[in-house]
């Protein structure tokens, strides 16, 4: 038990060290635009279908569940506002980020892991270049940016999914659905969704690059790296969700107190 906790803390420290090293390389040396564009294509454009589909379905599922609870009270007029607000603030970013972490994070960690196993990273080192600069930085920047953009697209698609399912099967037409949205969803809620998306993107990027870069032990090691990446990203997404919500809520209360006094 104690050993496991020790190991976890050690891993956390090594992850932080690795991230700092990558960011230092990024700020001092920059990133070459051709490899950045290539990585953005591989990671971002090719994950578009999965993001759109998952966004639609997540929105539809939440609309169905919230409709069931409101129907008993005859409060279906609130359906649009409530389901949009719940999805944007909390469950939407988390569920879409789960899917993206599988698609994007596990993909990158498998690719980097294969490079590490087949000594391609060492070959780059032999040629006198820094593998962090050439391989890791473009991937991490591309991952962070494209996860951020994809998450925001996915959040938009959840609204579409909610509208479609409620007008098709729940008897709430799109106008009724959208009437209450402005009542519930303030710009602050959207801001929470956006901040969460950015941080989730950052977590997916750094964690998958960290586990991929430090892969050892043949084909079995690559599998292990992928498994560790997906577990670590999921847990960190949930943890981040909680921390960001709490921090932003207390910030909001602080602002309100400042405005009132």
């Amino acid at each position: 038990m104690l050993k496991a906790i020790n190991k976890g803390i050690e891993g956390l420290g090594r992850w932080a060290e690795f991230s700092i090293r990558v960011f230092k390389t990024f700020t001092s040396k920059g990133v070459s635009s051709t490899s950045l564009v290539e990585q953005m294509y591989h990671v971002g454009v090719r994950s578009l279908p999965i993001t759109i589909v998952s966004g639609l379905f997540v929105g539809a599922i939440l609309a169905i569940q919230i409709n069931l609870q409101l129907k008993d009270f005859g409060a279906q007029t609130f359906l649009g506002g409530l389901s949009t607000s719940t999805t944007l603030r909390n469950l939407g970013p988390v569920l879409i980020a789960f899917l993206l972490s599988g698609r994007v994070g596990a993909f990158t960690s498998a690719e980097l892991g294969t490079m590490a196993i087949t000594d391609q990273l060492n070959a780059i080192r032999c040629l006198g270049m820094d593998p962090v600069e050439k391989i890791v930085v473009p991937r991490l920047v591309a991952l962070t940016c494209s996860s951020f953009l994809l998450l925001i697209l996915g959040l938009g698609m959840t609204v579409v999914g909610g509208v479609v399912i409620s007008s098709a099967h729940l008897g709430v037409n799109p106008i009724q659905f959208s009437q209450n949205i402005s009542l519930f969803v303030s710009s602050w809620s959207i801001g929470i969704g956006v901040v969460k998306s950015f941080l989730f993107g950052l977590m997916i990027g750094t964690i998958s690059c960290f586990f991929g870069y430090h892969t050892a032990g043949g084909a079995r090691g690559v599998g292990r790296a992928v498994k560790r990446t997906s577990v670590a990203t999921l847990v960190s997404i949930i943890l981040m969700d909680f921390l960001v919500s709490t921090a932003l809520e207390s910030l909001k209360t602080f602002f309100e107190i400042m405005a009132n006094s």
């Binding site: 599922i61 729940l170 084909a219 992928v226």
Partner: protein, 260 residues
């Protein structure tokens, strides 16, 4: 370009169909040869331990935070709509039982168990251990797939129940700390809206997700090709496809169980 699109479409269909084919094969093995099937008991208990017991800490930790979040968010929304939070416990419990507990548990199981199944079977395939099994005339469905299926279904159902218990404890604690509830008062209003049917539906969802994960991952692992790169790709594909199938299944089950 057109050719490429056709290939992508074909691959998509294959990804959809091959887990179903493997599922049908396993069912056939289970049903038609129930007399002379060799259930590898040691393997089954191993897989139960691997997927249920070893995933317990991470799932309990995550579900603690998720239920904490969901109760705070619910009280925020209720205050916005009704200007009070008397109905919070009932509502959040319904959403927890029907939706959050099975889905989040299944997603975490996918990343832990699904990826490791695909990586393990992919590694066995790459190192030709599967061919050796064939030489020893050990059926891979009997020896590899069915134990993982049993273990994963067991893990999914028990962990969903465990996460429900966790969420009840956590939300009681949070409500009595932050929302001016007495614990017994909160506990009494917790099950106002939850019926036995909801719990049954949640467990049915858990069973379906527990079936989806091992079959999709086994197909990805067994069809893995090309060394260490192939193993990584197999694990990635297992995670992505299981997550997608889980979301689809969740949508259809929610619709079928509760809308009609």
């Amino acid at each position: 370009m057109r050719n490429n699109e056709q290939r992508v479409l074909f691959l998509g269909f294959e990804a959809l169909l091959s887990p179903i084919r493997l599922f049908a094969t396993s069912c056939r093995v289970l049903v038609f040869s129930i007399v002379n099937i060799r259930l590898h008991g040691r393997e089954i208990t191993n897989q139960m331990f691997e997927s249920a017991v070893l995933s317990l800490p991470i799932i309990l930790f995550s579900l603690t935070i998720v239920s904490l979040m969901s109760i705070l968010e619910f009280s925020w929304h209720m205050k916005l709509v009704l200007k009070q939070d008397a109905l919070v416990p009932g509502f959040s419990m319904v959403l927890m039982v029907r939706e959050v507990a099975p889905v989040v548990t299944a997603m975490l199981l996918t990343s832990r168990v699904g990826a490791s199944i695909a990586a393990e079977l992919g590694f066995m395939k790459v190192t030709e251990q599967l061919d050796q099994l064939k030489l020893l005339s050990v059926s891979e469905v009997e020896y590899l797939v069915i134990p993982r299926w049993v273990g994963c279904v067991f893990a999914s159902i028990t962990l969903t129940l465990a996460s429900l218990v966790t969420s009840i404890c956590v939300s009681t604690g949070i409500a009595s700390r932050f929302m001016n509830y007495q614990p017994h008062e909160f506990f009494n209003t917790l099950f106002v809206f939850t019926k036995a049917f909801d719990l049954g539906g949640g467990l049915l969802k858990a069973f379906c997700f527990g079936t989806i994960i091992p079959f999709v991952s086994c197909v990805c692992g067994l069809s893995c090709q090309g060394g260490s790169r192939g193993v990584g790709q197999a694990a990635t594909r297992a995670v992505v496809q299981s997550c997608l199938f889980i979301i689809f299944a969740d949508f259809f089950l929610s619709y079928w169980l509760w809308t009609f």
